[in-house]
Structures are given as C-alpha cells and as structure tokens.
Symmetry: D2
Subunit: 346 residues, 4 copies
C-alpha cells in the first residue's frame, strides 16, 4: 500500500486545517465578485502588516501566473529577463513568460541555483544597441529550485546591481516562507528590505489550497496591474475563497509554523539519509528540499511505493520535498525504505 504522504513535492500535500476553517467561514451569504469583498480587503491588510502599508497586492491563482504577470508589469516586449538556467520561469512554465511578455529570458548556468553579480554581469550587455534585447529584470527564486537559500547580502548585491542599471529585481517566492524561516528573518526583511521590487508570494506550497499573490513594493510599478491580471486570465470571480487562504496564512504565524516545520523535516530527512553510504546529498539543505544522488538502479524500485521526481537523470539525482504535513514518522519510514531498497537492489 502506498503511504498517505510522499516526498514528491510540497504541492502534493493537502490544505492546512486552519485554512479549511477559514474557507468555510467565508462561505456565508453573498459577496461582491472580482476582489471587491471584505475578505480580500482583510487579506490585503495582512500583507500590509507584514510588508508595510505602501505596497500593492494582487491575488492570482497560481505561481506561474504570479511570475509571468510580475514580469509583464516590469517589461516591454524588447526587454530581457536574466535568470538561472534552472529557474522555474525558464524551465517549468512551458514558455508562458515569453508568450505573455514577448521578452527573451537569458539563462545563466549555476551550481546551486543562485545568481551572482558576477554571473549576471556577463549577461548584461548590448545596452543601447537596437539589435539586442535590453536587460530589464533580474529574477531570482528564493528558496531556489535546488533547495538552497540566498543569503541577505547576496540579494542586496543583486538588487544594487540591478537598480544602478535601471533594472528591477523580481523574486519568485514560491517558497519565500521556507527561505525566511531558514534565515530567521521576517517576510519583509527577507524581501523588500533587501531591495526586491516585485515578489511572487507563494502560498500553495505552504499549506493553502491554491493562492498566490503579486506584491509590489513600489506602487508606481503596479498602476496598471489590474488590467494585466484580467488580461492574463487571473482575476477570480469568487475571489474571497482565495483571499481568505492568504489571510489565514498571514495570521497567527501560520506561514512561519508551516515553513519551519517543513524545513525541519528536510533536516531530519537529510540526517537520516546521511547514514546511507550510497546516498550523497548534492546541494546544501537550507529549505524544505533534499537533493540526493542515489544508485540509479534503486530509483524505479523506490518509486513503486513513493512517487517522486528525478531531478537529473544522467547524474541519478533525485528531489525529495518535505511539506507542512510531513511527520517525523513519515521521514523515518521513508529513510528506512530508502536504505532497504538500496541495500537490496543491484
């Protein structure tokens, strides 16, 4: 029998009970559609408590949309977006950023999923040359797709580099809560205070049913975003049911509790795996993901019981993610299964 919880992705988890309660509470009577409701107003208020009053927040359905709409708000079609080769916007959104913005994405290879000023510099060229796309946005993912976490000074250096060149810093924060928890920072300290201009704020992977937001730290950048959201097919009619999820996440430290727990489970998983000689952790475990090089012949046998993704087939690297609902028992049972499977496969 398959276990109830896998380590495939934090989006395989369900919805946190507090969020369910919030959704049920919002199902009372009628509410005006398209965001003009008290639940959305309250959620936006929560964002302002966390990030400061002078921000603009727009709720959208999913992370791909949060990213693509953010980029569209910052660019014209001849601009370019600098990102890593492993960036979700570059590899996992089926070309949605290019399609929606018209821009070229300039991919930079990295070892750990993190851009550096040095690497970005190499893609910053052709400025003022009509034949070349014009770099306009640096987009980073925090925590990264490799489960690593940028240090505050690394982000500050990137935002400084960007702003000195009339560029913007966008953060794909699908797992910003995990990163902030890992760094011991508030959400604001982990984003706005480091010079991030626009944040894709992730909720779905942190215990929500499905809710993300685009947060603008400079309201001049968002003056027309309501139209981009609608034209981008991301304006929910019964928005209250999405808004309450984010409201709940930003209340009573739920974002932090969930993220901290998932991060701790990843540490536990790493620790357990470190006792298996054939398993090699390949990236620093700084958020809720563990990337491990394992014997190739074990992969299929592990997947019989646990569904998960192979990150790099050639290198035999797999990705295991922990969620808000992962239990210590889950981790122990999984580590045990990995150890046994590897031991018995050849």
């Amino acid at each position: 029998m398959k276990p109830a919880r896998s380590f495939a992705s934090d989006n395989n988890a369900g919805v946190h009970p507090e969020v369910i309660t919030a959704i049920l509470a919002a199902n009372q009577g009628h509410a005006v559609g398209y965001g003009d409701d008290p639940y959305t107003e309250s959620a936006v208020g929560k964002f302002k408590q966390h990030f400061g009053a002078d921000i603009d927040v727009f709720i959208v359905f999913n992370g791909t949309a949060a990213n693509c709409l953010s980029l569209k708000a910052l660019t014209d079609s001849y601009h370019a977006v600098i990102c890593t080769e492993a960036a979700h916007i570059y590899t996992d959104e089926c070309g949605a950023p290019e399609k929606f913005t018209g821009c070229k994405l300039l991919p930079i290879p990295t070892h750990d999923g993190k851009l550096t000023v040095e690497a970005v510099e190499g893609s910053y060229h052709g400025i003022g040359d009509q034949h070349h796309v014009q770099p306009r946005v640096i987009s980073i993912t925090q925590a990264t797709e490799m489960g690593t976490v940028y240090r505050p000074e690394e982000i500050k250096a990137l935002s400084r580099f960007a702003h000195e060149r009339s560029m913007f810093l966008h953060m794909d924060g699908a797992r910003i809560a995990n990163a902030a928890a890992s760094l011991g920072l508030t959400l604001r300290q982990a984003t706005r205070d480091l010079g991030v201009d626009v944040l894709s704020f992730g909720g779905t992977k942190n215990g929500l049913m499905g809710a993300e937001a685009v947060v603008f730290f400079d309201k001049k950048l968002s003056h027309n975003f309501q139209y981009l959201r609608k034209q981008g097919m991301q304006l929910a009619s019964k928005m209250r049911f999405i808004s309450v999820q984010l409201d709940c996440l930003l209340s009573n430290d739920l974002w932090l509790r969930n993220a901290r727990h998932a991060n701790r489970m990843a540490q536990l998983l790493q620790k357990g795996l470190s006792d298996i000689p054939e398993v090699k952790i390949v990236y620093d475990v700084e958020a809720n993901g563990v990337f491990a090089k394992i014997p190739a012949h074990a992969i299929a046998r592990l997947q019989v019981r646990y569904f998960f993704y192979v990150w790099n087939e050639e290198e035999s690297v797999v990705r295991w993610m922990c969620s808000f609902d992962t239990t210590e028992e889950d981790v122990k049972r999984f580590v045990k299964f990995v150890a046994e499977t590897i031991a018995t496969s050849h």
Copy 2:
C-alpha cells in the same frame, strides 16, 4: 442592514454545501499535482458520462481562461472569431482573447444576445484574401449575456454554417446548465448534439467555489491543449481541489438542481416585477437573469441596499441575477423593496 444575498451576479453567491463536503473529502493525504490524481480522473469520468466517452476535458481556473484557451486551440494568429458585440469575450475580458490568440474578434450587434446565420454571413468575407483575417470560429454564449437562451435549431443552424466553411463552433457555457435546464435538455443534447465543437463549461456561477473546464468533442482539436493550458497559466498544482468541485456538480444532478432553482427564482422575480408598472422587462427571461428598464432616479436608491450592475446607463436598464441559493423570500423582499423605492422616488 444589507441583505445576505443580492441579485448582482450569480458569482456573488457562495459554494453549495455538497461541494464543500466534496472539497473536505478530498483533503486526505497527498495527491500527485497537476491533474495526475484520482479526483481529477473521477471528474473527467463524470464529464464522459454526460458528454460521451470520446471527449477530452481540461480543467482550468476561470471562465475567461476557458474561453481564451478554447479559442487558441482552434485558431492561428491570423484567424478571426465571430461573436456578438455583447459577448463576454468581446467586452468583459480586457482583451485577453486578442492578447492570447493574436486574433481579431469580429463583433456583431444583436438585440437579444443571439447570433443568427444571417448576421454571421455578413462577417464571413475576405476568404482567401491575404489582407484579411480569416474567420475560423463562431463563438456563442449559452445562456446569453442577456439572459436569453438559443433554441436547439438556432445552434444547429450556426454549427452547420460553420462546419460547411471549415469553421468551428465554440460555446461559452458559463451558464450552460441554466440553458440546458431551461430547454429541458441533457448537457450533451444542449451542446455536442447540436454541433458544438468546443465548450467552455461553467461551474463557478452554478454553485462551485471556482472551477471551469474546456470540453473538446473532437479529440483531434485537443492534441496539444495540455501545453496551451500550462502556457496560459491555467494548470493548477493542487488540481484535486478544483476537480472535486466539478465531479460533485456532475453528480446526483447537482448541476441541474442548482440551475433549475436559479431559473425558477428568475421567473418568480420577473413575475413579481411585472406588477410594478414603472418596471419593464427588456429581454425574455429564459435563464437566471432578469433585465429591466426602471426609472433612472431609483437606481442609486436601490443600490444603497442591494448591490447590482447597471447594464445600460443610457437606457436605464439594470441586470438582476438569481443564484442557486436565492430563496423565494429573497425574491419577495427584493420585489417589495423595488416597488417601494420606485414609488417613493421621483
């Protein structure tokens, strides 16, 4: 005090209790993301029960997306889409269809929101002329934006016209349940059997939290739709929570019960209003909406208590929609309020 339920829009209503129950039931353990889960499989199975086994179904977040993605699947960028001037795709989607497909929409003025073969013929020209966009899709809304309902033979005539010219018939079925209930037809009889090629199947306005689907009646048309959905930013990660809503709607006749009830409330509303001499019903009430010409000076006073939309400011026509949760008591109280407000305003 504002009443719990307004007549502003069927999307101002909440979520049907059976749907809530279904959502809660789906919140068990982990499920693979992006639609590869048993809840989505079950929902797709329900669609097949209703529409036939040889179809393709893709679940999306909202109606605008269902429409735009449908049109993209049927067109290349130099094509044109024929629709009414009042069509949701033409007036209420902030240009999303043009942006996502590149196509021109050819608007046709109508009295009652319904296209006719005669009217469409006037927009079908320039065929083979490289200077002209090439008509490729006729898009109709059922029930229409004016609350009227196409008769089966009217749709058949349009699909015949389309197919004879290598065009497709798309139906924006945001309120297809209300239309089918009104016509006394099954969902299949009201769509596929009339020659519709692709259907935007609406759930949100009929008691769901937020769930729509694109239904292809010819699987050749959908071979690449999974990529269009992702590129269109409409692939839900925790899809099970959207799928179960549609599964529930298509079970135990919930779609029909909800739609029938909303339609009946609209009849009741119409009947009540017909006793107020200053109120004139302007379109046939065939689904769940009532469009009424009322004294201009009464509008603002009515809106003090009941939020609703003015459909046509110059003509002083307002739109009142009934929902699955509208009660007879709601209708009576509203009619009474309308009568009193008109009587006392001048």
Copy 3:
C-alpha cells in the same frame, strides 16, 4: 491590349524618375548599415525641415508596419485603439495590429470614413474598469480610405478630445500628401499643428519605390522605438536606399507636385464620369480616389481591360485611384471606355 496605367491603386504606379535618380546616386561605395549613414541623416533632416526640429523619425518598409509600430509605441496590451470600421488597420492588415500590440481595435461605422468626436464618445467607456480594455489611441486615416479628407477643425476636435482623456491621436498618413495638397496646408500644418501625436508618413503611394516613416511629434513617446522597430522586423540593413527615397520626396516639393497631380487627375476623372448617367459618385472626391456606384453588370467587362477593386459588392461601388503618373490622356481614355462599356452592357 491592356493600358500601361490602370486606376486600381496608387501603389500600382512605378517610381518617380527623380526618386530613381536619387537611388542611383546613393549607390556609391560602402555605407554603414541599419540607418547610421549620411543618407538617412539627410532624410531625417528633411523631415525636421518640414515638421520641426524636435521630432523623432524612424524609417520602415511599409505602411502596415508604420501603423502597427506606431500603435505599439503608444499602448500597452490592455489598451484599445478607436478607429473606423473601414480603417486600413482594422480591415486590411490581417490582424497585424492585434498581433503586434495585443490590443483590441474598437471599430466605429461611418458614412464617409471620418471619425467624429460624437462617434468616438460612444466607444470611450469602461474607463478604470478592470474588465474592459482601456481606450488609449484614436487612429484616423488622412486622406481617408474613402477618398475624403478631414477638415483641420475636425482633427483638432479629435486631438483635443483625446488629449483631455490621456489618449493619443495617431494618423495613418499613407496619403497625407494628398490630404495636405487638397487642404492647401503644409505637411506640418496638416498634422502636428492639429494635435497629431504620431504620424505614419506615407511615401510609397506617392511615387516612391517603397518607403514609409513613423514620425513622433513628442520625443518622449519614441524613447524606445528603435527596439520596437527591430523587434517588429522593420530595420533595413541597407537603409540608405530607403532613406534617399524619402529625402527626395521631401525635396523640391516632390511630395506636393505628385500629390497635387494625382488629386487633379481624380477631379478630372470625377468630372468625366459625371457625364455618364449610370455612374454615381458616392463620396466627395477630395484626394486622389473616386468611388462610384456603377451598373453591376458592367464591372466584369470593365475589368477585362482595367484591373481595379470592387469596394462594395452589394452596393456595386468600385474604387478608382489616380497616381502621380496618371495622365489626362489616361483619364479620358478610361472615361470613354467606362461610358462605352456601360452603354453596351445590360
């Protein structure tokens, strides 16, 4: 035998001898590509002589591009462009404006091809409503597609209306020379001085081989146009050979001589046709085009010898255009042929 010159279109004419001479003169040695050459510099200088020094000029290949790139410079994707139903951008560019800008075009039916403030007002709505495209540009064609010419005060009224609402006035000036000649105005008086913000300046129909320009009367609007032109596939490598054409057209009043002549030939044509009772001129002949309602049965017989376009099949209206190279003899022979053909057909 077919005559050497038809009345089908002013773009069926060849190249004016002075332009040929200029092209030959430019074919000396090497010149830097992409516009950084002395011929382009000189052409831009000529534009500044005509329109004022504080403008920006960008040379492009054809009129469709001049229009689409102009509109892109003035809009974001959720904007709308108000134009007539007969506008070239609406009916004759195969959806290029929608494809390149993402915008919706809002067509207004007219009798004579001319927008009025009153008509535009009806399309100016939904401002600030996130569901609606936001009107951003009024685009007029001067001379119009019907051969009529806006009066200066008509254009001033439209530009005032636009500017009071933060909109722009774009002029498709494919035949601006004919209009200016008709009005007895300089090029500047006929455009910039009336409040036009961006002009598609037409050369091809007025005796060039193929050369158009986008002229910005406010340099803030053009700051990034060089990228839009390249991204729009309109940056000529050997630009000198296009620039010299425009340089020549703007020298020694060639633009005016050519336009005046074509206009005069149209007057002559109209006069000649007025003696044929079965022929009815349907629009005021104010530039170089004559639109005539003629017996339907004569059309095909006329086309045996003279190629031309039927403007409105149902109404049996045809379009006859005069060019810089149309001769009085051409007109006389054509009128005679029309008279005889009509007399002998039935």
Copy 4:
C-alpha cells in the same frame, strides 16, 4: 580620407550594377500590387529552376523577417527552437522571434557556430511533459555567424535527427550563396537535398538592394504563409521592385559570381593577415568573413579609418567581412594598414 569600401559587413556594400539595371527595367507602367505581378511570377519561377518546381516562395523585406516568419510557420507558441548561442535569431534580432512566435529559443554554446547532433540531443528533452516547451525546430545558419560552413553530411545528420523526432530543420541562409559557393554545390544541393525544410534565402548581403525570401520545400508547411507574411508586416505593395532583384540574382549565376568573389577576397585577406605575427585567425575562413584576434590597443586606431565591429571585446576578436564589390586592391590596402597600425601601436 576614409576608403570607399570597408570590411565592416557585407551589408555595407551597395547594389550590384546588374541588379540596378533590373530594377530600372521594372519601372515601366503599372503593375498590380502585393505580388500579383509578372516580375514576382518570374522571380518565383527562377527559384523553382534552382530548387525544384514543387516549392513555395514568399518574398519579404529583410532577413530578420525571413527567419521569424519561417519559425512562425513551423511552430505553435508552446514550441521551442534549438539554435546556437551565436545565432542571429538568438542574439541579433532584439527578441523578434520570441515576440512573433511566442516560442522559447534554446541556445547552445558552440566553438565555431555549428550545431552538432550531439549538442542538440542535450536540448531535446521534456518531450510530452506539459511543463516544458516542446522542441520543434532546429535552426542553423549557413554560412554561420563565425564565417564557417557546415559540411553537407553535418546538415544531413541534423535533418535526420530532426525528422526522426517530428521536428523541422530551418536554415538561416543570409549567406547561403557564400556557403554553396564554398562547398561547390548548387543552391538546391546545399539546402533541400540535405533535408532543410524551410530556408531563409538571403539576397541583401549578396549584392541586392534589399530582398530576401522564405522558401518552403514542403508545400504543406506553407499553406497559410500568405497570412503570416501580411500579419508579420512583410507584404510589399510595390513588390515588383523587390522581386526583380531576386530574379536578377538567380539569373546568369549572379548569386554565384558575387559569392565566389566575396569568398575569394576573404581568402586573400586571410592570407595577407597571416603575415602579421600579432594577428591570429580564430575560425576557419570558409565563406566571406575573417575573424581575427588582434592586439587590443590597435582596434580603436584601425577604426579611425575603417569602420568594423568588435566580435568579442574580452578576447579582442574582430570581424572583417568581404563583399561582392571588395577589390584585391581594397584587401591589399587594408592588410597594409593593419600591419602598419599594429606595428606602430603599443
């Protein structure tokens, strides 16, 4: 005094005298616009003589357009195009391919500008995965941007790889004449016979004023290209003046004479430079371009007299191109100047 002819680019050259003669000859009387003229018919006939009768040819203004329109004809928006990092479509078209097609371009680093099957294999992944763009086209440049030339068997291997995977092979043939001349092949042998599906046929760099063509070797791929060309703003009204250039180029071996000459001048230039110890040729000189690593301090001093482009600033590599009109005297004088300048700079 600056010399009449530089080595900056083959598009800095003027127009070949035979082409001028052809243009003048076409300036007789009226001709129907938009390609329905005898000159275009003749040019298309010439293409068929060279490439086979069962092809489709579409004339466009410039090379960027030939490339972008080719790619659009072969793709839907979720597809990907595999090319080199140095490809013109990737680096020199200001994002036009992404904007016009919506596709992602997948860049592959190379040493010599040539793709290999091995390199392409690494980018061919994610097939059938809805999160990933789907590789659809391999685009190669022949001769390459580095002045190298694919061997026939290299192209055959790429086309075989592509076709076995339902992909297409596109060739950016801005300098296809130089490549064919270099290989001693006919135009057909150098393209179609190697499995190329669609060719951007370049004329401008080989002595024309400005004329390129998209050649389809499979007519099924071009069934709707006329609309894409118009929507892509690439339909010339007075097309005859573009068509005659291509007609002339494909007559009397002009394409071959021009290309052979330019190639020979590049050989001469290489030979001359090889006597300068400080100059190192960095790529094989196989077409009409010479890439040389020279002392950094000499660059600016050389550019005082000769305008040219620095190919790689860090490596101090410059690009020198020969044209149809480059003379032996030009080469000798230039080599002498390079030698002297390097000798006297430090």
